[in-house]
């Protein structure tokens, strides 16, 4: 099977960068990781490209996270990188704050929970999620259920904390 890299890039690069950006909070880093992932696909073309790309990319993120080199920088970027829409100043501030809360909630999840949520947001079905994360197909529903509840719960805890503080 020959890999149509241009077509794969066209259909998957944007999604991969978005997932990596949401995962790392660092736009440049997301671009670099996506590039590195595609370079590896060139070197050894995968049979099932989409799960393969995301699995490699998430592995790269984990390796990077283990080194811990960008941890502190990431936190800074979470604060500085906001949404691109520009509503009114008050609305923008409020939205920025909510986005920052989501990111903080996401960081508090386990790696597996965080990754499954991000993959689902990219339209992955259960089979693709199972292949990307190395999960049994039957475990995807349970993991996803726990991750969703946990995210909502953590987000509201922050909201409560924020309200109590203000």
């Amino acid at each position: 099977m020959t890999l149509d890299l241009a077509a794969l890039y066209r259909t998957s690069h944007g999604s991969l960068v978005r997932m990596l950006w949401r995962r790392t909070g660092d736009r440049d880093r997301a671009e670099d990781l996506a590039h590195e992932t595609f370079a590896r696909a060139v070197a050894s073309p995968p049979d099932n490209p989409r799960p393969w790309l995301f699995a490699v990319a998430l592995n790269l993120v984990r390796e990077d996270g283990r080194r811990g080199a960008i941890r502190s920088r990431r936190l800074e970027l979470y604060r500085s990188e906001g949404p691109q829409a520009a509503p009114g100043p008050d609305e923008a501030l409020e939205r920025d704050e909510r986005v920052a809360q989501v990111r903080r909630a996401l960081i508090r999840l386990t790696e597996r929970d965080r990754e499954i949520l991000l993959l689902k947001a990219e339209g992955f079905n259960y089979d693709e999620i199972a292949e990307t994360l190395g999960l049994a197909r039957g475990a995807v529903g349970t993991t996803l259920s726990r991750a969703r509840r946990k995210l909502v719960e953590t987000y509201h805890q922050q909201e409560d904390g924020h309200d109590a503080a203000s």
């Binding site: 890299l5 241009a6 890039y9 066209r10 690069h13 944007g14 960068v17 978005r18 950006w21 949401r22 736009r27 997301a30 671009e31 590039h35 595609f38 370079a39 060139v42 949404p83 691109q84 909510r98 986005v99 989501v102 990111r103 909630a105 996401l106 949520l117 991000l118 689902k120 947001a121 079905n125 259960y126 039957g138 475990a139 995807v140 529903g141 349970t142 993991t143 996803l144 259920s145 726990r146 991750a147 969703r148 509840r149 995210l151 909502v152 987000y155």
Partner: protein, 361 residues
């Protein structure tokens, strides 16, 4: 049906349940208040969680997003200039050079073969009838090393073609490959139906000691149906080119090797700014003669020993191999990582050759 667990509810909400399982799920939920509550709670968490993730938004698109960057594209292969090749072939034929030959002794541009002790031997392949005497001749040739005058060069002609000693009037040599019509006539649907040119004498570009012991004749001539395309496939599906220069002439041939293998040899001739020829020869051991034309059908068994030897040859870093060869005017031989044996020959000093080598793609 028993009460569904959280995972099954999630599958149901995500539309991942098969029709039959979904039917059972619906039937159970219809009669179970507790499960309906759990389903609604899960549905709410699912909606909210997905909305929270979506709130993270998208990174701002960058210029050129979605287009494969140049750094990820495979290197562009320079197309063969058919018109130029046809012109060159016509010149060759008009000049009566359809058959180019001469013995290695006369030409004196032999590749060197490296012995285990680091000295060199020069194999000769493809000799005239008068010399094609069998194994004893082979050993003589193999052991007649470097006394022959050999400047490793060819003389440019005024028309840019390469002047080579010819065997006009001599008996057709055993090794002679059939003469081909001009390239323009060979072109069929954009492909070469047959190799461009015949040669009496071809040598491997690399130090392959086994080659020196090979019967020094090309037999048979080109396998029927062989084409430049087949040669490219025989070379592993790709061909090395000199970046930035136009190919003036292409030559293709095969050599028998010990053990029934063959070496596919392709020689490309370029011209430098002054019209002096630059020759890039590349060869690779493939399978038995006769199977080359259908390179796709080369049996693994036949190809395996050749592949193993190529790997062994290629295992040594190219730079070391090149450095181990005695310096010769105008020639540079090496083996690249993919097992291609390469020889670059030009009227140039070592530095210029090294620069040329860096342009081999």
């Amino acid at each position: 049906m028993r009460h569904p667990d959280d995972g099954l509810i999630e599958e149901y909400l995500d539309g991942e349940l098969a029709a039959e399982a979904r039917g059972e799920f619906d039937a159970h939920a219809a009669g179970c208040d507790a499960c309906r509550e759990r389903i609604e709670a899960a549905r709410a968490a699912r909606s909210e969680a997905d909305a929270l993730v979506a709130m993270l938004g998208d990174p701002e698109p960058r210029p050129g997003a979605g287009e494969l960057p140049a750094s990820l594209r495979p290197p562009a292969r320079r197309p063969v200039r058919w018109r130029t090749l046809a012109w060159a072939a016509s010149v060759m034929m008009a000049a009566g050079l359809g058959y180019v030959g001469g013995t290695a002794e006369r030409r004196g541009d032999g590749a060197t073969a490296r012995r285990g002790d680091g000295t060199t031997e020069r194999p000769t392949i493809g000799r005239s009838d008068s010399r094609a005497g069998g194994p004893s001749d082979s050993s003589v040739v193999a052991e007649a090393p470097t006394e022959q005058p050999d400047d490793g060069r060819t003389e440019p002609r005024s028309d840019g073609a390469t002047e080579r000693p010819t065997a006009i009037g001599a008996e057709p040599p055993v090794a002679r490959i059939e003469e081909s019509p001009p390239l323009a006539k060979q072109r069929v649907d954009g492909e070469l139906a047959r190799p461009l040119e015949s040669r009496e004498e071809l040598r491997l570009a690399d130090a392959d000691r086994a080659l020196a012991r090979a019967q020094p004749a090309i037999q048979p001539p080109n396998p029927p149906g062989a084409s430049l395309d087949a040669a490219v496939r025989a070379l592993g599906g790709s061909i090395r080119l000199l970046d930035g220069l136009e190919v003036q002439r292409v030559e293709v041939a095969w050599l028998p090797m010990p053990g029934g293998d063959s070496a596919a040899v392709v020689e490309l001739t370029y011209a430098d700014a002054a019209g002096h020829p630059i020759v890039l020869r590349q060869s690779r051991t493939v399978a038995a003669v006769g199977q080359i034309a259908g390179a796709d059908a080369v049996p693994a068994k036949a190809a395996a020993p050749a592949a193993a030897r190529d790997r062994a040859l290629a295992a040594e870093p190219p730079d070391r191999r090149a450095a181990a060869e005695p310096p010769r005017d105008g020639e540079l031989a090496w083996v690249d990582r993919n097992g291609f044996r390469l020889l670059l020959r030009a009227d140039a000093d070592a530095d210029s050759l090294a620069r040329l080598r860096a342009r081999v793609r």
